[in-house]
């Protein structure tokens, strides 16, 4: 990947548990966005967090951003089988237009 790193690369948990995915990036950013992708399908936008924000919530999703460590995390609480998908972080460097994606975390929720 050009810039982003994500870990773990794969995560398998039981339904109802929480899932945490981490993302790191290399340059100063304007914002960081998280996307979800079901196998071979489109990218669905989940949440955007700006560089001056530290935490953001949306339903069962919680995103944190630590610009000093150039890292972000996505927490999915009370996971469901339908949350099974790949999750990508994508950073927008300051002054740029393009999103730079991490390698993605493949999340499997076991019923």
């Amino acid at each position: 990947s050009q810039q982003g790193e994500e870990d773990p690369q794969a995560l398998s948990i039981q339904e109802g548990e929480n899932a945490t995915m981490n993302c790191s990036y290399k340059t100063s950013i304007n914002n960081l966005q998280w996307y979800r992708q079901n196998s071979g399908r489109g990218l669905v936008h989940l949440i955007l967090i700006r560089s001056n924000e530290r935490e953001k919530h949306s339903g069962r999703l919680r995103v944190t951003l630590d610009t000093s460590k150039k890292s972000s995390s996505l927490l999915i609480t009370a996971s469901r089988a339908a949350d099974t998908a790949s999750y990508f972080c994508a950073s927008l460097r300051q002054g740029a237009q393009k999103l730079v994606f991490g390698q993605g975390t493949r999340l499997t929720i076991n019923p």
């Binding site: 050009q2 304007n30 399908r41 002054g95 237009q97 393009k98 999103l99 730079v100 991490g102």
Partner: protein, 114 residues
């Protein structure tokens, strides 16, 4: 709510052929982006347009060209196709030049080069 529309959804071509992918952004969005996602890879930025002008360029091969039209739709033209061009091609749109807002992605065009 209206989403980004891409056509065709699937495309099969032979080596050395040409392909044209189309993208219709969300209404009132003025910025369009193209990304390529190879099998098992993360999406890679190709090119973007704002108000019909190229605004940023990534790792787009010289064999590829793109443009944005007056109605804001965009087309990605790919010539002399190679096996390695087989990938998912996404178009995304947003409002504004600097992409500070959410980039909404279309469903993608799956290109297979045989």
């Amino acid at each position: 709510a209206a989403g980004v529309i891409q056509s065709p959804r699937h495309l099969i071509k032979e080596k050395r052929e040409t392909a044209t992918l189309k993208c219709y952004p969300i209404p009132r969005h003025d910025t369009v982006y193209w990304y390529q996602q190879g099998p098992g890879q993360d999406p890679q930025f190709l090119i973007s347009f704002y108000e019909k002008m190229q605004s940023d360029k990534g790792s787009i091969p010289d064999r590829f060209s793109a443009q944005q039209f007056s109605d804001y739709h965009s087309e990605l033209n790919m010539s002399s196709l190679e096996l390695g061009d087989s990938a998912l091609y996404f178009c995304a749109s947003s409002l504004g030049l600097w992409g500070t807002d959410t980039q909404y992605f279309g469903p993608g065009t799956r290109l297979t080069v045989l």
